[in-house]
Every structure is written in structure tokens, then in C-alpha cells.
């Protein structure tokens, strides 16, 4: 297990190097000169040149990249063009907010999605199931920013029971996390329902029933335990999606988190800030995927056994993921 974890952590390094390179590549296409944005359009050409020199922007892209990476390896992510503040500090200041929103929304999705999915599957083909399926379908079809605005209209403007925007306490958390969480639940409902249905007719369920096992135990022990496998694999993807969705929620609810920081960084061509933020999000996504794979091994004894020849695990989890998606 430890060897596998270490191996996966090492495999993360090339991916993250790739991510930084991708950001550099995109940056080279980006129109607009950061120097004129920071110093103003009417700044002297010489002044701009000196400013660019200070941040290595006059070097060829590949030289810039190597210089940046050599500093990143030493833990130095540079300073923001605009505020001259340390990028690491700026990002870490905003990160808890974004992470909180993402984690809360995914918790809502998992709780709501799994519960409704199981209820739908156990009531297969009657009105409860049809209603749950309809809700699931509707949820995956709504744009999250629109759903958030609908919630604002209902709960903040009409009923006036929740604040419209800001992020100052638990009552401010409800609308943004509910917007992302409820829509995410729709997707998980669909996955849970189909994976529970896959297990419901399995031989081991019939065996359990024939030996007189209690129905509740059959559901919890035999069906859920097995149905959980594709669900857990898909949760990693939901966390990544929630991190992306948080960017939009932060814009709507005026939450000063990492997403808002990134949009500002994009608009002001504040590359060091943008690179650091994307790198942090990519690292988080990769770590979460690793954790999901480890949990996956814990709940599936078959995979646990396969850990002894650790490379197989990832393929197994990929297979389960593609099976649950289709």
C-alpha cells in the first residue's frame, strides 16, 4: 500500500510539470502586454522594458519556463505583478474559502445523490423512481449559474431568509454550496441508481435472500457495499468539477476566494498569480484522485488483494469509472 502511494505521488510530478508548461504555453498566446497593464498605456517604452526585464518577460518562453521552474522547485512562486505581494501567501489566504465551498457542495451532492439514488433504485419503475429520475435529469441539464440565480431570487430576494452575497458566516455558505451541491447530486443520483440496480439482481443477493437474510441487511450489506465501488470512483470527478464550479459561484455571490482571484489574474495578465493558483488546483485534483483510489481499495477486497501487484489498481479503477459513466 505504501509503495503504491509513493509510486502514485511520484507519477504526479510529471503531470504537474505538464500543467505548468501548459499554462506557459497558453500565456504565450495571450494577447495584451502585462507591462502596459501594470504601468499604464502611456508609460515610457524604456520603463516598460525595464519592468519586463525584472520579471524575465523579455526572455524566450522556454528560458522563462526554466527560470520559473527552478524557482518553483525551491518553493518560490514569485510575486504578483499587480500587488507585488508573495504569490504563495496571497493564494493561501484565499484557498480555505474556495476549498470550504467545494467540500461542502460535494458533501451535499454525496449525501443527497446517494440517498435519492438508493430510494429510486429500490422503488424501481414506480412513481417514486420516475420522479427521482426526472429530478436527476433536470439537475444535470441546468446551468449552475442559472440555478444559483434562481435560488437567489427565491430565498434571498423573495423570501428574504438568506443573504444575497458575501461570505461572512454559515448562513452565507448555504446558497453557493446548495447551488453546486444540488446539481452535483443529480449526477450522483443517476450513477447510484444504475449501480444499485446492477447489484440488485446479482447472484449473491439472491443467495442472501434465499438463506432468509433480513431485507435491511441485504440492502446495506450486500447491495450497497458492492454498489459503492463505481460511486466512489466517480466522486473524485465531482470534487474536481466542484472546484471548477466554485469559480463561477464566487463570481455570482461575490466571494473573495481563489476563483475570483484567478479571474482577476486573467483579466490583468497577472501570470505568477494565475500559475500558482492553477498549480494548486491541479495538485489538489491529483491528490484527491489518489485518495479516492486508496479509499476504493479499502472498500473492495478484490482490489485490496491486487494491491500486492500495485500497478493493476489504477486500471481497475479506470475500468470501474468507465463502466459507471456509460
Amino acid at each position: 500500500m505504501l509503495r503504491y502511494t509513493l509510486r502514485r505521488l511520484l507519477l504526479m510530478i510529471p503531470v504537474l510539470i505538464g500543467v505548468t508548461f501548459l499554462i506557459f504555453l497558453l500565456q504565450s498566446f495571450t494577447p495584451g502586454d502585462p507591462a502596459s497593464l501594470v504601468l499604464g498605456n502611456d508609460a515610457e517604452e524604456e520603463e516598460k522594458y525595464e519592468w519586463r526585464e525584472k520579471y524575465d518577460l523579455n526572455d524566450p518562453l522556454i528560458v522563462q519556463y526554466v527560470k520559473y521552474m527552478s524557482r518553483v522547485v525551491r518553493g518560490d512562486f514569485g510575486v504578483s505583478y499587480r500587488t507585488n505581494k508573495n504569490v504563495t501567501l496571497t493564494i493561501l489566504e484565499r484557498w480555505p474559502t474556495t476549498f470550504l465551498v467545494a467540500v461542502l457542495s460535494v458533501s451535499i451532492s454525496v449525501f443527497l445523490g446517494m440517498m435519492l439514488g438508493i430510494i429510486a433504485a429500490l422503488n424501481r419503475n414506480n412513481w417514486v423512481d420516475s420522479f427521482a429520475r426526472f429530478l436527476g435529469m433536470l439537475g444535470v441539464s441546468m446551468p449552475n449559474f442559472w440555478f444559483a440565480l434562481l435560488l437567489i431570487m427565491t430565498f434571498a430576494l423573495k423570501l428574504k431568509i438568506l443573504p444575497v452575497s458575501g461570505f461572512y458566516g454559515p448562513e452565507y455558505w448555504i446558497l453557493p454550496t446548495a447551488s453546486l451541491g444540488i446539481l452535483g447530486a443529480a449526477g450522483l443520483l443517476r450513477i447510484t441508481r444504475s449501480s444499485v440496480l446492477d447489484c440488485i439482481n446479482a447472484d449473491y443477493v439472491r443467495t442472501a435472500r434465499s438463506k432468509g437474510q433480513k431485507e435491511g441487511k441485504i440492502v446495506m450489506h450486500h447491495i450497497l457495499r458492492n454498489a459503492l465501488i463505481p460511486i466512489v470512483t466517480s466522486i473524485g470527478g465531482y470534487i474536481a468539477a466542484a472546484l471548477g464550479g466554485t469559480i463561477i459561484m464566487e463570481q455570482i455571490f461575490a466571494i473573495s476566494g481563489l476563483g475570483k482571484l484567478m479571474i482577476t489574474a486573467i483579466n490583468t495578465r497577472d501570470y505568477p498569480l494565475l500559475r500558482g493558483s492553477v498549480l494548486l488546483i491541479a495538485t489538489t485534483t491529483s491528490v484527491i484522485n489518489l485518495i479516492v483510489d486508496l479509499i476504493y481499495a479499502q472498500i473492495d477486497p478484490r482490489v485490496k488483494a491486487a494491491f500486492k501487484n500495485s500497478i493493476k489498481v489504477r486500471r481497475l479503477s479506470e475500468k470501474a469509472a468507465s463502466a459507471s459513466e456509460s
Binding site: 446551468p143 442559472w146 484567478m262 456509460s326
Partner: protein, 297 residues
């Protein structure tokens, strides 16, 4: 008597022979009412948007400030916005843009994804490793963020939004294509093709791809719905389609400041997105059941 029976058997046989797998799937699809309802909505929206110029000859940007903020009613079916522009016109013309973005960006994802996925799956080993590890890089960045990053690098505008949304869908497509190819490439008919010296390109396009068509078609419908949502998010953030072009997401972004008093400006374009995406998802689900009855539950 016997004669008649034989005749019937003959007819049946001919019928059985005539029906290919695709025809059978198509029949199953047509029998699926929800899928057909979804299809009907998509076709209706497509026709209405195509006829936008006939239904609303004044165009999407005809302003009349004296007629601002008229609520949906007799004069204007869907009301008017802050500049007195007819919302019906803006939603219909917006449909053109949203549907076009959906179709073209899905084509981009599909074309690149199918090529990369089949190369990775067919050649395996090094090629597979290089392609899949490169896609891992894209996979590490959440789709929304990737689309934001690409479209901000290339600037606003419809074409760039299509490219941004299209590229961010490539990894998913490549994965979907690669998995079944790994299984199909081991089959006898591929070996047979190889033994008669068919070129690799011929084997991929003539023998392998037609056999993995079902997951590709299913992913295409899913991606269509997804890319309309993604494109509307981009223009909601002000990165995709630029005003005065009436993309659905940008209509909502534009109406946000009037949400307190004129909420219909927010609800209507949102309903349009939700209706189209919902119909595409319903159709896609029906398509999946029709193409792969084993999966149905």
C-alpha cells in the same frame, strides 16, 4: 396450407436479413417516447432559431429605449430588455449561436478525441503512454477552469469559445474511444485484416471504429449538451461570446443586475438552455438504451 406457411417463412427471413443492427437500434429509439419528445424539442428549437430572421425581422439588436422593460405579454411575447430589445428575438438568435457552438465544439472534441483515442488504443505501449499522460495533464485541471484558461488566452468571440470548449472535451472523448478499442483490436477480424496486409489506417477506420460506434455516438450527444452548458458558462463570465451577440449565457449575465425587479430577463434564457440541454440528455439516454440494450435498467 403448407405453401402459405413457406411463403410466410420466406418473407420473415427476408425481413430478418434486411434489418441491420443500426436499423434495430433506430426502431428501439423511435419507440422510446421520452427520447422522441426530446428529439422533437431539439428540432423545434433548431427550426425556430433558423427562422429567427423571419419571425423577428427587426434583428436581435434593434433598440427602442421607450419600450424598455416591458413584461412578457401581448405586444412582446417574451418581453423586452433594458434597451427595449425584444427578448424573443434575442433568445431565438441566441439559439442559433448556442446550437452552433454546441455542434462545432463537439465536432472538435470528437475529431481530436477519436484520433488520439484510437491511436493510443491501437498502437499501445509508447504511443499510448505519451498520449494518455499528456491527456492526464489536461485532466488534472477542472474542465471549467481549462475552458476559462484557453478562452482567456485566445480572447473572446464565438470561434475562440468553440475552440476552448472543444479542446476541454478532448480528454474525455479520447478515454471513451480508447477503452473499447483495446478490446476490439484483439479480435479475429482485425487479425484477419492484418493477415491480408491491410494498412493500419484501413484497419482503424474500416474495421475497428465501426465496431466502437455505439460509445462514440453516446458520447457525442452527451458532449453536445455539455458543451452548450460550458459555452454558456464562459459567456456568463464574460469570456466567450461578446455583446451585443445574444448567446444564452451572456443574456443571463446581462440581465443579472435587473434580477430584483425584472426576473423574467434571467428566467427566460435560462429556461431555453435548460430545455435544450434536457432534451439532448433525454435523447442521449434513449440513444444509449437503443444502442446498448444490455445497459438498460
Amino acid at each position: 396450407m403448407n405453401n402459405v406457411d413457406q411463403k410466410e417463412v420466406k418473407i420473415n427471413r427476408r425481413e430478418i436479413r434486411k434489418r441491420s443492427m443500426m436499423q434495430e437500434s433506430l426502431e428501439r429509439l423511435v419507440r422510446n417516447k421520452t427520447a422522441m419528445a426530446g428529439f422533437a424539442v431539439i428540432v423545434t428549437v433548431a427550426i425556430l432559431s433558423a427562422l429567427a430572421g423571419v419571425i423577428c425581422p427587426e434583428g436581435y439588436d434593434a433598440q427602442d429605449v421607450t419600450k424598455a422593460f416591458i413584461r412578457p405579454g401581448k405586444e412582446y411575447i417574451l418581453g423586452t430588455d433594458n434597451l427595449g430589445r425584444s427578448m424573443l428575438a434575442r433568445v431565438l438568435y441566441g439559439g442559433r449561436i448556442s446550437l452552433t457552438i454546441g455542434i462545432i465544439s463537439t465536432s472538435i472534441s470528437a475529431a481530436l478525441g477519436i484520433i488520439l483515442g484510437s491511436l493510443a488504443g491501437y498502437y499501445g505501449n509508447k504511443v499510448d503512454n505519451i498520449i494518455m499522460r499528456t491527456l492526464d495533464v489536461f485532466h488534472a485541471i477542472p474542465n471549467t477552469l481549462l475552458a476559462i484558461a484557453i478562452s482567456s488566452a485566445m480572447g473572446g468571440g464565438i470561434v475562440n469559445a468553440m475552440i476552448a470548449v472543444g479542446i476541454s472535451g478532448v480528454p474525455n472523448f479520447a478515454k471513451v474511444v480508447r477503452a473499447p478499442i483495446l478490446a476490439v483490436k484483439e479480435s479475429e477480424f482485425v487479425e484477419a485484416a492484418r493477415s491480408i496486409d491491410a494498412t493500419n489506417a484501413r484497419i482503424i477506420f474500416r474495421h475497428i471504429l465501426p465496431n466502437v460506434l455505439s460509445p462514440i455516438i453516446i458520447t457525442i450527444t452527451g458532449q453536445l449538451a455539455g458543451s452548450i452548458l460550458a459555452a454558456s458558462s464562459l459567456s456568463f463570465l464574460g469570456l466567450g461570446v461578446q455583446p451585443p451577440m445574444p448567446e444564452w449565457g451572456s443574456l443571463i449575465a446581462n440581465a443579472r443586475q435587473y434580477i430584483r425587479d425584472y426576473s423574467y430577463l434571467v428566467s427566460i434564457p435560462g429556461l431555453a438552455i435548460a430545455a435544450v440541454v434536457l432534451s439532448m440528455n433525454l435523447f442521449g439516454d434513449g440513444l444509449r438504451d437503443a444502442l446498448d440494450p444490455k445497459l438498460k435498467n
